[in-house]
Amino acid sequence: MPDLTTRTEPLGAVVVEPGTITPGRARGAGPLRREGPAKLTGDAKYADDLVSPGAWYGGTIRSTDAHARFIALDLDPAFDWSSVVVVTASDIPGDNIVSSIKSDQPILVPLGGEIQHHAEPLALLAAPDRATLRAARHAAHPRTEKLPAIFDSLASDHLFATYELAAGDPEAAFAAADLVVEGEYRVGHQEQLYIENNAMIAVPQEDGGVTVTGSLQCPYYVHAALKRGLGLNDQQARVVQAETGGGFGGKEEYPSMIALHAALLAGKAGQPVRMIYDRHEDLAATTKRHPAIVRHRTGVTHDGRLIAQDIEVVMDGGAYATLTPVVLSRGAIHAGGPYRCPNVRIRARAARTNTPPNGAFRGFGAPQVQFAAETQLNRIAEMLGMSPLEIRRRNVYKIGDTTPTGQVLRDSVAGEEVLERAAEAGEFERLRARHHSARQRREGSGTVPGSPLRTGRDRFASGVGLALAWHGAGFTGSGEVKLASVVSIELTAEGQIRILTASTEMGQGTKTIFPQLVAEALDVPIDAVELAPQDTAFVPDSGPTVASRTAMVVGGLLIKAARRLRGEVEASTGGAFAATYREFARSHGPLRIDQRFEPYPGVGFDDATYRGDAYPAFGWAACVAQVDVDLDTGEVHVRDVVAADDIGRVIHPVLAEGQVEGGTLQAVGYATIEEIKLRDGRYLNDRLATYIIPTALDAPRITTILVEAPFSGAPHGAKGAGELPMDVGAPAVVAAIADATGAWIGDLPASPERILAALSGVAAVAPLPPGASEPAT
């Protein structure tokens, strides 16, 4: 096992202090959440809390077809349209494109154009009050001609992206393998379900521009979209983040669409316009996690070593590309799991279907493929009669191993450490042995028809499951180099220290850890450091608040900027920064340090060959889950979860634990209850009464173990934390269900219907595969 208290290879970065293992929850550590008091007293202003005098209410006319030609928008002549503004595609002054990776998604479908999915925006309405808007909606009727639609990603030949990774000679290795195992795994949509729905307020400006304030993760994504769609310059387009009630990726790209809509209405009305989605519209129209079909063929030796992997990943992108190519890329790179295997072929593709576009969601392609990889490995262990813990010990990446992109893991590798910590704290082997003997007893005591494991005495069966994952920290490949993010620290003439970044707070703790990191670097009290608002008029483009990059990448830039500021002040004053910066500011005037991202030393990726260092470092996570399965109803109660996560140097234990706990519960929901059902390409359960997420009663007890394998390329040794826990929860829960019942569930969620079908071998009504659309009735 690597010694995590030392770095394994210096990369010319600042020395990181020796790491420590933090057992359990470290309460009381770290400064209190900076914006916490405002959130606790009701003072915090989310978009819908903001007062905008004279504001109109905006709404969206959406498609009720999955694929159709948009013929006309019929406005009922009996309705009084004099106080209503109607916007169609012909009102768009710039490109009718929502700026993203590919220019394929229109702001509004033009007349004569093709509608590509249910709930696609066709036209916009605004009125001075809600009642008029509601009446106007009922008086506006899109006329369409239906076209044949495609809902099956396997049948679609319109591909958004493909990737292929290869190493060694898989076919020769399969021929030499002692055991070859095949498996097919399917996962469906998952909704981010931030508790605050999407919301935007657009205010037209005298210079012909617009200021948009809203709930969003990425101010400069919205800024770019406004410039392109409205034909504005950098100053005319201004984006301000309101307090944001959760994102999880769901407010990464879709806010650009809503901001454009609100701005178009505001421009035409000459009034501020509020576009506040209700839950139904938010669920029906905005992006979800990509459904995926993952096929594995794995060759192993009798002693459990992986020698060949052939993996096919097919993701359903929905109707437009959004961020699908990069979601798929991350999925392809993580598809084999955190395991050494010399002979690999990974083929990944993302196809277009006539369903609402899928997009960013915590984990970004990795949870789908690692559910498949981990379930495959757990099945292999069972076939070999080997412990799931032992098979992972034999295959987990160690320092010096090479990944399928040819990346040599030189630094910050902690797969073994998290595995052992989780297995030990979760008592994995002891519980597994206990459940094994319980299952033997039960099988010996007779069965009840339709539920083979059910006996008169034992209605519930308990199980324990284990999973392990890796998660690339920050952007994939050359993403960070292309972004070239900038942060600034300002010492004002009044002697105030101010951070300027576009990184947003959405609950994860940006507004707390940024002042904390800068205060530490400057050796001043945290209260001496303030944070400028996330407003494109003031802050530089520090990149989007995504990909678990904020603490690692942007935090690292801030430390570098702070050190430069400190150096300049101390060189001038000859005294310690803390004692002299106010005097320096008075005598020298303001000083602003801009720090631009520089590539991490020794880290490089070639987009053309798709080879190299896919990530500067990986985070590592292991999870042990305990479940009780009701053998009569198929319901699963996830009772206890132990999560061990290596996130590099822990900046703030309470906030870091919060990330692990929240991500773990989202993964438990993904595993057990969260599913979108579709009919004819429309989401059926598009209300909170029917799309359900775990409550406090459904949630397991979660024990978090933070493991610190510092990343030597970052000045503070931090890696990402947000997404990592999302990768391991689902396969651990499914393995626990198999431990309890003997049945492997290959489709997520492992719903009661799927569990009963697997237990009995027959289902009264066979559940549709995840992500599939049933035909219209």
């Binding site: 916490g36 508790i195 959760g246 609950g507 919060g658």
Partner: protein
């Protein structure tokens, strides 16, 4: 048809003229400017709009404002005393029970009602008491810990 009524919110009287169909949530947030109570679903599912009516937790999105006339309404804005946070608010802050903050007002209201009815709840009782409030950020771990800690604090203060 509009009715003139007086709403008692956080020990303050607000005379308002209302149409019959208005929800309490829309009046609190609109006419009264008390935007601490949130709309997360408008469906009585998420609990973000929860307020106390005569001490009982109610989803204000599904409660008519006129029904609330003559009753004592408490919103999240009424919990702190001046600048001093209520022990529940302080415990939420210290235990990482606040992340995005959007469920927090409703969660605090439910927790207040729970502790008023049951000053020394078990973990299961806390989870049951908060099960009408959805949180997507915390996994509920910090929230349960905060309520337990506040219960101890309040018991010591008595």
């Amino acid at each position: 048809m509009r009715y003139l009524v007086t709403l008692q919110v956080n020990r303050t009287s607000y005379p308002v003229e209302l149409e019959v169909g208005r929800t309490l949530l829309s009046v609190l947030r609109g006419e009264l400017g008390l935007t601490g109570s949130k709309e997360g679903c408008d469906d009585s599912e998420c609990g973000a709009c929860m307020v106390l009516i005569d001490g009982r937790p109610v989803n204000s999105c599904s409660y008519l404002a006129l029904q609330a006339a003559g009753r004592q309404i408490t919103t999240v804005e009424g919990l702190a005393s001046g600048t001093k946070l209520h022990p529940l608010q302080q415990a939420f802050l210290e235990h990482g029970a606040v992340q995005c903050g959007f469920c927090t007002p409703g969660m605090l209201i439910s927790a207040t009602a729970l502790l008023a009815a049951n000053p020394d709840p078990t973990e299961d009782e806390i989870r049951a008491g908060l099960s009408g409030n959805l949180c997507r950020c915390t996994g509920y771990v910090g929230i349960v810990a905060a309520v337990r800690s506040a219960a101890a604090e309040l018991a010591n203060a008595d």
